[in-house]
């Protein structure tokens, strides 16, 4: 089945799409925004100017650096509020060009710049240090304040918003802390504390006790390093990184340096309205980083909105359109005094697949206020005895949770384990390396929003690094990571620890179980090479945060879904409406079986079949309708049956005008242009069903009399398709006589009959008319008509050429044949 196959391929596209976006994300890596495609051709042109801006920075304000910048003038207005957009790590100002143009078209003056150490800017990377990058940005604000296109709040103080992803988001937070002139910030997928991000500890021990996130840290640093070992990093930073990477353990010095480059150190000074956009597929800067920023800024009394979208550093749906819309609305509200957004917290959720586009349907759930990561807690008992787990020698093979680019798969996990199927058999946990603790199957679906917590106790040797993960176990036993993110922690053996699992928004279905997994290894982190074994048990239930206030607006169904059927019904009604034809009764004619007057029919091909035909048939007559081929006999009879609409003139049967389906037709029995039977039914069934279709009572049928005329004998029970021409003919005449109609119309009734049958038929017709009924016979067998009919109408070329008693037409002693030929003008 070809079509089925094509549709099956449609389903397949999901898988491919996911893999592609995974690959794309892997390429983009820390790069933050990557310019996607060309700008729309019809969009208004944005005027840009590129310039180098010279700045001075360094702890002693003695380092001269040139920053490569692009200024995007506001479209459609002379002055506009300014927005500075920072780029991601490893990128430069070109990476944000598309976003900048979009904002410029909304009337913002946008500045994009390559941070020191990136692109064509000079200087070295100092990781958003207050001594370097923050000073640079402040001087860029000075530069902006001098631009004529920029709206000012005061002398030297532009109306200013800052946005950016990752590295560019952190500088927005840092600058807002150091410079009062910043009026609103919208940092995306960025960090609160770089030390905590690179040395996380889910037991709350701080970065000093953390586990080194070696894979991400490596990518992060080599991305800035370029071809040489230290590349464009500040030498002191490079040295610090190399030392940490070598040992896999954080030094106090390193932690202090990273903290200084982190908004966490100055978050108490950020007092401007903030929109924090964080990715749900982000193992580099997970949701808890945005949470820390949000809590810090909210504590200062500034309004904070938090958005969790599907993307992040791991990949996933970048939701570009939605995120840009959010940013635009935010800046419109905060820099232009537009309506403030009503929601403090928004989470996008994969709602399913749209089978027509094969796109994941992303729904947005919103709540009025951001509740943090531990809201509405419920505690679920965990089942599982103490388990012994091993750390393999060399820390390998390691289990796999997050990998850069794997986030795309994690996003689909929300659909109910798709990630498990698409992972392509990717090993998640190595045997013997992980302990598992399950809840009971859920009685009702559970939407976890935030970070779950659990207390564990560990015994063994040395400070043990463990990786805590949350799995979704289906009733069938299939277990998939709820999110492909691990929370590392370091526990002192013999002690207990409260573990905060990765923050997420995930729906566990009814009947599913939550599984806490504690593994000894993870590919993304540095783990000790010494083989060891530990005993792990849980000492509390699993505390699960929920945010019932989050409400999903169902994906709007386009208006045409409702409008189209209504329009269609209106059109349908319009098609059906037309003026009803009057059905008039002529009482004086109610005794006249048939009166035809002025009947005319011209076919669409121009052939004039019947022209101004008039004649009248009285009760008890047997009328012969004569004429050569093409004289219009059959067309007349069809009009008589209401099958063809006459162009003008009318036919009245017993005074009632004939229209299609006129009830008076029930007094007409007809056999015109051959029999019409259902070939698969027997003769008897055909007559029986035909009579039942006429809507008249069975006792009016006179079935036996009709069957006697048909004279089919036992053949009556055979299917009609086995009949000879003559048998069908007789059956059809019998059908016409069913119910003994007052007017019987027979077209060439003797075709296919043998001489005895013809003679019998003649007698039947004469007898029929003798009973006060009327018979019309159309025929070309003139001898036949002469012997049967009392009256005749002769037609030629659609016109009546003669009418009257047969004797009158033939005149004295002539044969009808001669008279006929003379009348139609072909006399010899």
């Amino acid at each position: 089945m070809r079509l089925g196959g094509a549709l099956r391929a449609r389903w397949g596209r999901t898988g491919r799409a996911a893999r592609w976006s995974a690959a794309a994300a892997a390429i983009a890596l820390v790069g933050g925004t990557a310019a996607v495609g060309a700008t729309a051709g019809e969009a208004p042109r944005v005027r840009t100017s590129e310039q180098n801006v010279a700045v001075v920075d360094g702890p002693k304000d003695d380092q001269r650096v040139t920053l490569d910048t692009t200024f995007y003038a506001p479209v459609g207005r002379a002055k506009g509020p300014a927005v500075m957009i920072g780029h991601g790590f490893g990128g430069d100002k070109h990476g944000v060009a598309e976003e900048a143009r979009a904002l410029a078209r909304e009337g913002y003056a946008v500045l994009a710049w390559s941070a020191r150490g990136f692109g064509r800017s000079t200087g070295e990377i100092a990781l958003n240090s207050p001594d370097y990058e923050v000073k640079d940005t402040r001087q860029l604000i000075d530069w902006l304040a001098k631009r004529p296109e920029v709206q000012l709040d005061g002398p030297g103080d532009p109306r200013l918003g800052m946005a950016g992803e990752s590295y560019g988001g952190a500088i927005a937070l840092m600058t807002a802390a150091y410079d009062r002139r910043v009026d609103a910030i919208a940092p995306q997928i960025t960090w609160n504390d770089l030390a905590d991000s690179l040395f996380p500890d889910a037991s709350g021990g701080g970065a000093g006790n953390g586990v080194f996130k070696k894979l991400w840290a490596g990518l992060f640093f080599t991305d800035g390093a370029g071809s040489s070992a230290c590349g464009r990093f500040l030498p002191s930073l490079c040295e610090m990184y190399q030392k940490v990477a070598e040992t896999g353990a954080p030094t106090a010095d390193a932690v202090a340096t990273l903290r200084r480059s982190s908004p966490s150190s100055v978050i108490d000074r950020v007092t401007v309205p903030t929109l924090l956009v964080q990715g749900q597929a982000d193992s580099l800067f997970p949701l808890d980083q945005a949470d820390a920023n949000a809590r810090g800024i909210a504590r200062n009394g500034a309004p904070v909105s938090v958005v969790w979208y599907q993307g992040g550093h791991d990949g996933g749906d970048s939701e570009t359109g939605r995120v840009r819309g959010l940013l635009r609305d935010f800046f419109d509200a905060r820099l232009r005094g537009g309506a403030a957004s009503r929601d403090g917290f928004a989470v996008t959720r994969a709602g399913g697949l749209d089978s027509s586009t094969q796109q994941v349907v992303v729904e947005e759930a919103t709540a009025r206020a951001y509740p943090g990561l531990g809201a509405g807690p419920r505690t679920l008992p965990l089942d599982g005895r103490e388990q012994t787990i091993f750390n393999p020698a060399g820390g390998s093979p390691a289990s796999i949770s997050a990998l850069p680019g794997l986030g795309a798969l994690g996003g689909l996990g929300d659909l109910g384990g798709l990630a498990g199927g698409l992972g392509g058999g990717l090993p998640v946990d190595m045997p013997g390396q992980s302990a598992q603790f399950d809840t009971a199957p859920l009685a009702s679906p559970l939407r976890l929003t935030g970070a779950a917590t659990v207390r564990i106790a560990v015994s063994g040797k040395g400070p043990v690094p463990l990786f805590a993960k949350l799995y979704d176990v289906s009733p069938g036993g299939l277990s998939v990571p709820a999110r492909r993110i691990a929370a590392p922690l370091r526990v002192t053996p013999g002690g207990e620890a409260r573990v905060t699992l990765p923050a997420m928004d995930y729906r566990f279905d009814r009947g599913h179980r939550l599984r806490v997994v504690l593994a000894t290894t993870d590919m993304g982190f540095a783990t000790p090479p010494q083989p060891a074994s530990y005993k792990v048990r849980v000492v509390s239930g699993l505390t699960v945060p929920t945010v019932p206030a989050l409400k999903t607006e169902p994906t709007p169904i386009p208006a045409w879904v409702w409008v189209l059927p209504l329009v269609a019904f209106a059109i349908a009604a319009g098609i059906l409406v037309r003026g009803r034809r009057g059905r008039m009764t002529e009482p004086s004619l109610s005794d006249v079986p048939l009166e035809i007057s002025g009947l005319t029919k011209k076919y669409k091909n121009g052939h004039l079949a019947v022209a101004d035909l008039s004649f009248r048939v009285e009760k008890g007559q047997v009328l012969g309708l004569l004429g050569p081929n093409g004289a219009g006999k059959t067309t007349t009879l069809r009009m008589l049956m209401g099958l063809i609409h006459p162009d003008s003139g009318e036919i009245r049967i017993f005074g009632h005008r004939v229209t299609p389906g006129a009830p008076v037709l029930s007094r007409l029995g007809s056999f015109v242009e051959g029999p019409g039977f259902l070939p698969h039914l027997s003769g008897r069934d055909n007559l029986d069903l035909y009579w039942r279709a006429t809507g008249r009572p069975l006792d009016e049928a006179h079935m036996d009399e009709a069957l006697r005329i048909a004279g089919l004998g036992p053949a009556l029970e055979r299917a009609v398709r086995t009949y000879s021409q003559g048998m069908r003919q007789r059956l059809a005449i019998a059908q016409a006589m069913l119910g003994l109609p007052d007017l019987l119309v027979l077209d060439e009734p003797t075709n296919g009959l043998d001489p005895p049958q013809i003679r019998e038929m003649r007698e039947v017709l004469v007898r029929y008319a003798a009973g006060g009924r009327t018979v019309i016979v159309s025929s070309h067998l003139l001898a036949e008509v002469e012997q049967t009919c009392t009256h005749a109408v002769v037609m030629a070329g659609g016109r009546r050429v003669a009418a009257g008693p047969v004797a009158e037409i033939t005149g004295s002693g002539r044969r009808l044949e001669d008279a006929f030929l003379e009348i139609i003008g072909e006399a010899p």
């Binding site: 089978s355 009764t585 008076v664 008249r696």
Partner: protein, 288 residues
């Protein structure tokens, strides 16, 4: 009796009642004993058993890395029924629906029995209405009989159990039966456009093959156009674009948008096509 009927009774023979012409039962009997009706039902009822046989001989389908209904076809009776529906939606059910709705008037015209019915007289609109009702009923029975028989065959072949979704995860049998009802209901609505098109062709032509073939042909053309992705969102308005939207009911949470759009498209086309059919038949000269 309404005034109109009294007039009609006076005008026609004593026992003639418009409302009694061509009763549904009579029309159903007339159609049922036809060979093509029996063959169509035969194919639909045997197909599930043939599929069960195929899976038994060929073994369980292994996952091929792409989630699809065939991978989980043998997981349970319900899964098997869904698979059977999936493989038949695109063509077999289209042909079945087109057969019942396209054949009904055209075959009467072909047999010449149409003119005798109309002269009986069965009023034209009533004749169409009764024929349409019977044809649609047969089409509904056909569309419903396939998954039902597949369910029976599935229970015999693979046992009763919860549905395994192609995207992973399972749905308990109770919920799945409800979803199955949604799926069958939507399939019926989605086939309405095919039914209407076939019916319009049926009153237009005297050849049953032309009516059925024409409807199936236009479905194929629509499918081909649907494959031209360059048409973009114009494809949303193709009559067959949403034919498979019932698969949205096989996700952990039912997605209604696609089915709503598909229903709107199908019902809209059907309303116009049916109206055209009635109008055309009413004004037409019957020359068959």
């Amino acid at each position: 009796m309404t005034t109109g009927e009294i007039t009609a009774a006076a005008e026609g023979g004593s026992g003639y009642r418009v409302r009694r012409t061509l009763p549904l039962r009579v029309e159903a009997i007339r159609q049922f004993r036809r060979r093509r009706t029996l063959v169509a039902f035969g194919i639909l009822l045997v197909l599930p058993w043939v599929l069960v046989g195929a899976f038994k001989i060929g073994g369980d389908p292994g996952p091929d890395g792409v989630p699809s209904l065939v991978d989980v076809a043998t997981a349970s009776a319900l899964n098997f029924a869904l698979f059977a529906l999936f493989v038949s939606t695109g063509f077999l059910l289209v042909v079945a629906v087109a057969l019942f709705c396209g054949d009904t008037v055209a075959s009467e015209a072909g047999w010449s029995s149409l003119r005798y019915l109309l002269a009986a007289p069965v009023p034209r609109a009533r004749l169409l209405r009764q024929k349409l009702a019977v044809a649609l009923s047969y089409a509904v029975v056909a569309v419903v009989s396939l998954p039902l028989m597949a369910l029976v065959a599935g229970v015999v072949g693979f046992g009763w159990g919860p549905v395994e979704l192609p995207t992973g995860g399972t749905v308990p049998a109770g919920t799945a039966l409800g979803r199955m009802a949604v799926i069958i209901g939507y399939s019926l609505v989605a086939q309405l456009v095919v039914a209407a098109l076939a019916f319009l062709l049926s009153v237009t032509t005297d050849s049953p093959l032309g009516a059925v073939g024409g409807a199936v042909g236009l479905v194929i053309v629509s499918n081909i156009l649907d494959a031209v992705t360059a048409l973009g969102s114009w494809r949303d308005f193709l009559p067959t674009h949403w034919m498979y939207s019932w698969m949205d009911a096989l996700q952990p949470q039912i997605q209604w948008t696609g089915m709503a759009k598909g229903s709107a498209i199908s019902i809209s086309y059907a309303a116009v096509l049916f109206a055209l059919a009635f109008r055309r038949f009413r004004d037409r000269d019957i020359v068959s």
